[in-house]
């Protein structure tokens, strides 16, 4: 409980030290806690080992390569384990023909991946930071997304999965903090998936890899070390395009994805103390997204608040808001609120001002409820 509040403050400092010196192991503590628990949502169905997000992703990649001999992992620096260690041990285990470094060229990485996928392989590609995905934008939008459609289903690149770290990290500035998911949600033909925790990440990543459509998998880098929870060790998949109500409530629906959910959860917790019952939904898949679950929730609560780190204008919150207003107009008790990043490039020293933090969300919850 006090941990949640401590989580954010502590997390910032903890992440700062880990990211600045990658040799620092996760055992660096804060406030006397050896392990920082990720929010417990509902009950975990099974127990497993305590893993952080990058280990969970690493496990998923191990399983993917193990279970499908036609799968490959490649990108910049993946061979030694990757700048975030997500690909640690893969090259040693599966060999450098299946796990390899590529030249520094995102359009080549994705284009090569499309070709591999078109030959019935699983191409699990890494773009080192989502901020650098843009050289590959043409390959993603004009090629990957249209590959099946334009060929009349004679060809497809469904085996392509693009993994990329996104989001605020405390000190990332313009080019290590971006959340570009909205650009890709406007492209019919690809899927966009964002996990919120280690257990979710492993299952969603395996689903994304095995899905027969090209998927962009945005990994919240802030949670790579910070989020720890029990992750089942076996091979499991979580469904795409199914949102999850992670906390039930009756006064207002909150929708988010990725790292932002832990911030929203804290806001919900504080709101509860003031007698506001919040229903928190993890969208998980942004494209195609589960409108039905969100609609059902808003029919219950009559209020909606969306929160994402990406700039508010043209962000994916706008799509959710417009769709829900279309479906639930007469049920809504207040305008749909969006608490998001500012419409600026992601600033460094001003990050605390830029991000949609707990109190911004809490204030919006209250004003929406009191509309």
């Amino acid at each position: 409980m006090a941990m949640s509040t401590g989580l954010r403050r502590c997390g910032r400092r903890l992440v700062a030290s880990v990211c600045n010196n990658r040799e620092v192991s996760f055992s660096t503590t804060c406030q006397g806690n050896n392990v920082i628990q990720q929010l417990q949502h509902g009950q975990l169905q099974e127990t497993g080992k305590s893993l952080n997000l990058c280990s969970a992703i690493n496990q998923a990649l191990h399983i993917a390569l193990e279970t499908d001999p036609r799968s490959y992992v490649f990108g910049e620096d993946v061979s030694f384990g990757g700048v975030f260690r997500c690909t640690a041990g893969l090259a040693e285990k599966f060999g450098k023909k299946r796990v390899f470094n590529t030249p520094l060229c995102e359009q080549g990485i994705v284009g090569f991946g499309i070709g591999l996928a078109a030959m019935d392989n699983r191409a699990i590609v890494e773009i080192q930071f989502a901020d650098y995905i843009f050289p590959a934008f043409d390959q993603i939008v004009n090629e990957a997304a249209k590959f099946r459609y334009r060929s009349g289903n004679q060809f497809n690149c469904g085996g392509l999965t693009i993994r990329t770290p996104y989001g605020a990290v405390g000190h990332g500035g313009h080019y290590h903090s971006q959340s570009p998911e909205a650009f890709f949600c406007h492209v019919p033909g690809i899927k966009v998936v964002v996990p919120r925790s280690p257990r979710e990440a492993k299952g969603l990543l395996l689903s994304s890899i095995r899905d027969q459509n090209p998927v962009i998998f945005f990994e919240p880098k802030w949670l790579y070390r910070l989020a720890v929870e029990e992750v089942p060790e076996h091979d499991y998949m979580l469904p795409l395009s199914e949102a999850e109500v992670i906390q039930e409530g009756s006064d207002i629906t909150l929708v988010g994805w990725g790292a932002q959910l832990s911030v929203m959860e804290q806001a919900c917790f504080d709101a509860e103390k003031e007698g506001i019952s919040c229903e928190l939904i993890d969208l998980k898949t942004l494209m195609p997204w589960d409108k039905e679950t969100v609609e059902a929730s808003v029919r219950k609560t009559g209020r909606l608040l969306i929160s994402h780190e990406a700039p508010v204008t043209g962000g994916f919150g706008a799509e959710i808001s417009a769709s829900i207003v279309e479906r639930c107009f007469l049920r809504l008790e207040a305008p749909v609120a969006r608490i998001c990043g500012l419409d600026t490039p992601f600033p460094l020293v001003f990050e605390p001002f830029y991000v949609p933090n707990k109190n911004k969300i809490l204030d919006a919850i209250k004003s929406t409820v009191n509309y």
Binding site: Q107, G108, I114, G115, R148, Y149, R150, Q212, P288
Partner: protein
């Protein structure tokens, strides 16, 4: 595994480059000119500049250092490498302008059967282009792109490949499909966007594709197919197939970033891919002098560590030989090869273009008549007694008739149904598309006059 196709002995410089191809070569001699030290029979081993142990250092270069990336000799003379070579890379040709075999030319030779099929397909392609171009002008087809002047590149390269080689085209290579067996009806169906189109009417005319013929679907985007071809080749490499990927692009396409990405990836991944550049002098209205200042495209191969050759693209036999050799090297040595075929785009860029606006009419005429690759090859096969003017008129009139029939059938064939708007966006249509289809059908029912009557609901 990959079929053994190199002799096992360690050869010296200057020997024939493969044992199997050796017997086909008319003249013995090094296929790799000027840089014999780059040749090796060692299979699967890259020949990287930083790993060459055979380089001799002259008296000037006694000292060297092991930088990351390998040994580099020092020099105390400051010398910039020229921006252009003393001599342009020469262009390989085997038939002269009159279709006579040049003496002492090296070429793999070709059987009568293949030669006659190559000629027939070139003539068929030319006839198809002429008739479909006309159909567009008459308003029967919305758009068309001809291959006039580049028939030899299309057909000869296709003939040099096997059906197992995957083709990743740009959009001016329908001849490769024709060679592989795509029917005139299938060409017509795609151009008329009817139900017979495998692409389900979703793309503009000439955007052909065929899974059964291992020919990836054409897209209008320029050069984006080049990195795909490298991934395709890597898959073939990992599967140990006796096959390669082949991709085509133009002089304009070589300026795109994807060209750089693809060549670099191909070299690093040691992928068996052949990059065939149709350098036809024009990218719509942009001449090559506005496109680049390098010695064409062939010179760039070395910059990426890719073996390359420049060929006379209007010489059917030279194209055939070069692509045969390229294929052999790509598969046996597991490496990319760059083939620059020099030619001329005789037709307009497309039916939306009038090239007389930016280039002289007599230049076009020169290439259309005096330098026509089809006539040139015809002279050669006729000199072998493999063709005659009777055969010619029979072929031309048969093909013409078949094409006109195909067009008539294509025009009458139903268009694909409205449901094909929504399928194949994903493997399974998501719920938002099901909703949109429902809504669309309602509005079509209400306002049928807004919608084309020939698209079934």
């Amino acid at each position: 595994m990959i079929s053994p196709c190199l002799s096992s002995s360690n050869s010296d410089h200057g020997t024939l480059f493969t044992a199997s191809l050796a017997k086909d070569l008319r003249v013995s001699g090094s296929v790799l000119e000027n840089k014999p030290t780059l040749y090796t029979t060692r299979r699967f081993e890259s020949i990287r500049p930083d790993q060459r142990s055979d380089v001799k250092y002259s008296a000037n270069h006694k000292q060297f250092l092991d930088f990351p990336g390998g040994k580099v000799a020092f020099t105390h003379k400051m010398r910039f490498i020229s921006e252009s070579p003393e001599e342009r890379i020469p262009c390989y040709r085997v038939l002269d302008d009159n279709g006579q075999l040049i003496e002492c030319s090296s070429n793999v030779g070709v059987s009568k059967e293949i030669a006659v099929k190559m000629y027939s397909d070139m003539a068929t392609l030319q006839t198809m282009d002429t008739i479909f171009y006309e159909a567009q002008r008459q308003g029967r087809v919305s758009f068309y792109v001809t291959t006039i002047g580049e028939e030899a590149i299309n057909i000869a390269s296709a003939a040099a490949l096997t059906i197992d080689d995957f083709v990743v085209p740009q959009y001016r290579e329908p001849g490769v499909l024709l060679w592989r067996g795509f029917t005139l009806q299938e060409f017509a169906d795609q151009c008329f966007s009817n139900k017979g189109d495998d692409c389900r009417g979703r793309q503009m005319p000439v955007h052909y594709g065929s899974k059964k013929l291992n020919y990836f679907t054409v897209a209008s985007t320029i050069a984006s197919q080049l990195p795909h071809a490298v991934g395709v080749a890597y898959s073939l490499k990992m599967d140990g197939k006796d096959a390669c990927a082949v991709t085509y692009f133009g002089d304009g396409g070589s300026s795109e970033g994807d060209f750089h990405a693809a060549l670099n990836f191909a070299a690093v991944t040691e992928a068996p891919v052949i990059f065939i550049c149709r350098n036809n002098g024009w990218a719509i209205s942009t001449p090559t002098s506005d496109q680049f200042r390098s010695d064409g495209i062939a010179v760039r191969g070395e910059a990426y560590g890719v073996r390359s050759i420049r060929v006379d693209g209007n010489d059917t036999l030279a194209m055939y030989s070069a692509v045969r050799a390229a294929r052999e090297m790509a598969i046996c040595e597991q490496r990319p090869i760059l083939v620059e075929a020099l030619t001329y785009r005789v037709g307009h860029h497309s039916t939306s273009d009038d090239s007389t606006k930016y280039r002289p009419v007599d230049e076009i005429e020169l290439w259309r008549s005096a330098r026509d690759p089809i006539n040139r090859f015809r002279k050669w096969i006729e000199s072998n007694g493999w063709w005659s003017s009777d055969a010619e008129s029979e072929l031309r009139s048969n093909v013409r008739k078949q094409l006109l029939d195909a067009i008539q059938v294509a025009e009458r064939t139903e268009k694909p149904p409205v449901v094909d708007i929504f399928t194949d966006v994903y493997d399974v249509p998501p719920s938002n598309l099901s909703e949109q289809e429902k809504w669309l059908r309602e509005t079509v029912k209400k306002h049928p006059q807004d919608y084309p009557a020939d698209v079934p609901l």
